[in-house]
């Protein structure tokens, strides 16, 4: 199977052989998903050809791809939440009895699939009531049902626990071996590439950098191909700043928080945060970190326990009141929560300060010139790249948008900073800059709570690490004293939980 294709600007040509597991790696925005979307017919290439099993693809649509045996499991599942597993798997080719749909037959089809491929699911379950790992199985079964013998998996392990990831790899190995299927796996997790693939292609900024047999490379080599230079950011200096005699800046005491469905997400977490230190929270997404951060910043009510900023409890306070106590917050979802996309950079930078004396007359009339000057100053101080302070924030790149958020929040000069996923979707240059900003804050005496899914980032920045699993703290560590592998163990329930 062979497909030369064209992406945005650049020319990509790849050969993928039947019965192999082929990995496609690259940073966010490198173009891997776009390429695969072309193969699956979701987009058409501007120029170039795609040849599947010896036949060129002339029309680009998912039904074309399905007809040729290409199936795709997307990063964000393409499942209709209120439908059952069987309904989702048979969507588009439902078994019928006359005009009506034959749900019994659909369930039977799913049970056959389960038997044939060994992926266990219950056909009658509603998709929005099963776990993420099971949902992914449904997606895979869906493509198999449609007759795929080429399976594209887009970042399949992004939402899985390590156990579920192991299960997935088992399944992949089995269907490749028993059914001679071809698997293309898109990922940016290099250890997975080493674990499961036969060959690997590296993409960068829309171009193909190289294709190798997996046995001929290692993680380091792949990483440098991905970014064109030594990617492993060096360690940062952690000069001692904490004064042990100071009272803690933030006290979190037996905090309990519910999630959106009313189920407990944080089940009794306690810790203290001192000025001049970075406390990192390490955990797989979905174990309560988001809710913890929201509780500390009053974006979510506390079901139990207390959070004190200095000596003041935040129970019953609004986000504005918590900010007034000296807390700034870089949220995990910058587009949804951290900025207003249609507003310009100036507006986004001044929010929170617009009533202050230097920016408004008596808190009412806005002094536009002073505000603009302030925005421009922040723009240059935080190295935001873009056309200027008058453009809508939505037009900036992810990294620069994040810098706007960081600039605004850091410029409040608060004693406490709560930072969540600071470099998600941010290019390497901006990442380095943001890390330096965070470090500078720490060194000037700020108390920083850092939540991140990026272990490298946590190791680089944190003075202390807390591992979190299912809403509880499972361990406290100094980064230099624990290996990543062992930390993962605590992140998945080992430690206190296992002992209990």
């Amino acid at each position: 199977m062979q497909f030369p294709g064209v992406l945005a600007n650049d020319d990509v040509s790849l050969d993928i052989r039947k019965g192999e597991v082929f990995a496609l790696v690259g940073e966010n925005g490198a173009g891997k998903s776009t390429l695969m979307n072309i193969l699956y017919g979701m987009n058409a290439p501007t120029t170039g050809k795609v040849i599947v099993k010896g036949q060129e693809m002339t029309r680009f649509s998912p039904s074309e791809a399905i007809a040729r045996g290409v199936g795709m499991v997307h990063q964000h599942f393409m499942l209709t939440p209120s439908f059952t597993v069987a309904q989702n798997i048979t969507l588009g080719r439902e078994p019928r009895r006359g005009v009506f749909s034959d749900l019994k037959k659909a369930n039977a089809i799913v049970e056959d699939l389960v038997r044939e491929y060994g992926l266990k699911v219950n056909p009658a379950d509603r998709v929005d009531e099963i776990s993420v790992g099971l949902q992914q199985r449904v997606e895979i079964l869906k493509t198999l049902h449609r007759g795929a013998d080429v399976l594209i998996l887009d970042e399949p392990t992004a939402v899985l626990t390590p156990q579920e990831t192991d299960d997935l790899f088992h399944v992949i190995r089995r269907i490749v071996r028993e059914k001679r299927m071809t698997i293309i796996i898109i990922t940016h997790k290099l250890y997975e590439v080493m674990a499961i693939s036969d060959r690997v292609a590296v993409m960068r900024a829309g171009r193909l950098v190289g294709v190798e047999h997996t046995r001929d490379v290692n993680e380091r080599a792949l990483a440098s191909m991905m970014v064109g230079r030594e990617v492993l950011l060096g360690p940062m200096a952690h000069p001692p700043v904490v004064n042990a005699e100071d009272a803690p800046a933030v006290t979190v005491e037996n905090v309990q928080v519910l999630d959106d469905r009313g189920l407990p997400a944080v089940r009794g977490i306690s810790f203290q945060l001192r000025r001049g230190e970075i406390l990192g929270i390490a955990g797989i997404e979905g174990n309560g970190q988001s809710q913890l951060v929201e509780a500390v910043t009053a974006l979510r009510p506390l079901r139990g326990g207390d959070v004190r900023i200095g000596a003041t409890s935040i129970r019953g306070l609004t986000p504005g009141q918590v900010r007034a106590l000296g807390v700034a917050h870089v949220p995990e979802d910058r587009l949804k929560t951290g900025v207003s996309a249609p507003a310009d950079v100036t507006d986004n930078l001044i929010v929170g300060r617009e009533k202050q004396k230097q920016f408004s007359l008596m808190g009412v009339h806005m002094k536009r010139r002073a505000i603009r000057r302030y925005a421009q100053e922040l723009f240059s101080r935080f190295d935001i790249r873009g056309a200027g302070v008058d453009v809508p924030v939505g037009s900036l790149s992810g990294g620069n948008m994040q810098k706007v958020v960081v600039a605004r929040e850091f410029a409040f000069d608060t004693p406490v900073l709560v930072i969540s996923q600071p470099t998600r979707g941010v290019d390497i240059g901006a990442m380095e800059a943001i890390h330096q900003f965070i470090m500078d804050k720490r060194n000037s005496g700020c108390a920083i709570l850092l939540v991140s899914a990026d272990l490298d980032e946590l190791y680089r920045l944190s003075d202390r690490l807390l591992t979190i699993y299912e809403g509880r703290v499972t361990g406290e560590f100094i980064p230099s004293a624990i290996e990543k592998a062992e930390l993962s163990y605590y992140m998945t329930g080992g430690g206190k939980e296992a002992e209990a």
Binding site: Y40, M42, S61, P62, S63, I66, M72, H74, H76, F77, M78, L79, T80, P81, S82, F83, Q87, N88, L91, G92, R93, E94, R96, V99, F100, S101, L258, R261, G262, L263, P264
Partner: protein
Amino acid sequence: MNELISIVNLGLFQNTLRTATPVVLCALGCLMTDHVGMMNIGCDGMMLIGAFAAVMGSWVSGSWMVGILFGLMAGLLLGLLYGVFVIKFKSDEFIIGVALNIFAGGLTTFLLRELTGQSGTFHAEGGLSTLPRLQSDWLEQIPVIGQLLNNNTLLVYVAWALVAVCWVVIYRTPFGFWLRAAGEHPQSLRSAGKSPERMKYIASLLCGVLACLSGAHLSLGYLSTFSENMSNSRGFIAVACVIFGRSNPPKVFLAALLFGFIDALGMRLQSLGISSALTATFPYLGTVLMMVLLVWRNDRKKKRLARQTAKA
């Protein structure tokens, strides 16, 4: 007290059915578009145009069947218009809905003047061919229920049948699944090889046809003529019923019946001396109350569910 009881008689329920039917038909159309993710608040305007088209068709040809036909054609055109603007041009569905309502008011008033030289309420010389009533002696004999079900205009029965048909189509046929998927998760439908846009267009057309049909019932079956702005915000009540009934045809039907009941009750209360204008407020206030109760009940249900799962 006796007077109150005297209001609650068969006539009250018969009127309930008659008043509710335009809302039912319109609501069925709106719930179609709701399933594909569009809220059509322009259905009130569509109802008005449908009412006008039906009267014109009947007047010009002397047959109510042609009137219905005119109404259906208007429905297709309006559905297409709505679809093109909202789906193809990606306009805000709220703005298009409001524009449609305003357009309908202007268009019907204008055409009424230009085509018939009249304004206000239309008087057809020699009368207007209106919808037939369906009668069955057999039904007449069954006490209460039979008399209730009997002797209604054609579209009332059509509406009941459509409620059932809609339910079956939406929840028991592949087409219905595609419709719901197009609204809930269009990408999942697209990756299955079907076009969500096509589903949306079909839903728009269906909504247009049903809304205009409801207008036809209003003018040819209920009030037996056309008068300016006769839709009287019924389209919005239909939308409220769709929300209240969670886009589920039988539930929406019940909501519409409730509205019809309040409306009919209001008219009956007039016989007790209560001003007609005052009773006219009841359906509207009632619908607002219905919506509030619905949301409040939803909230409590969610909290109860959460408490249960937490305990488990």
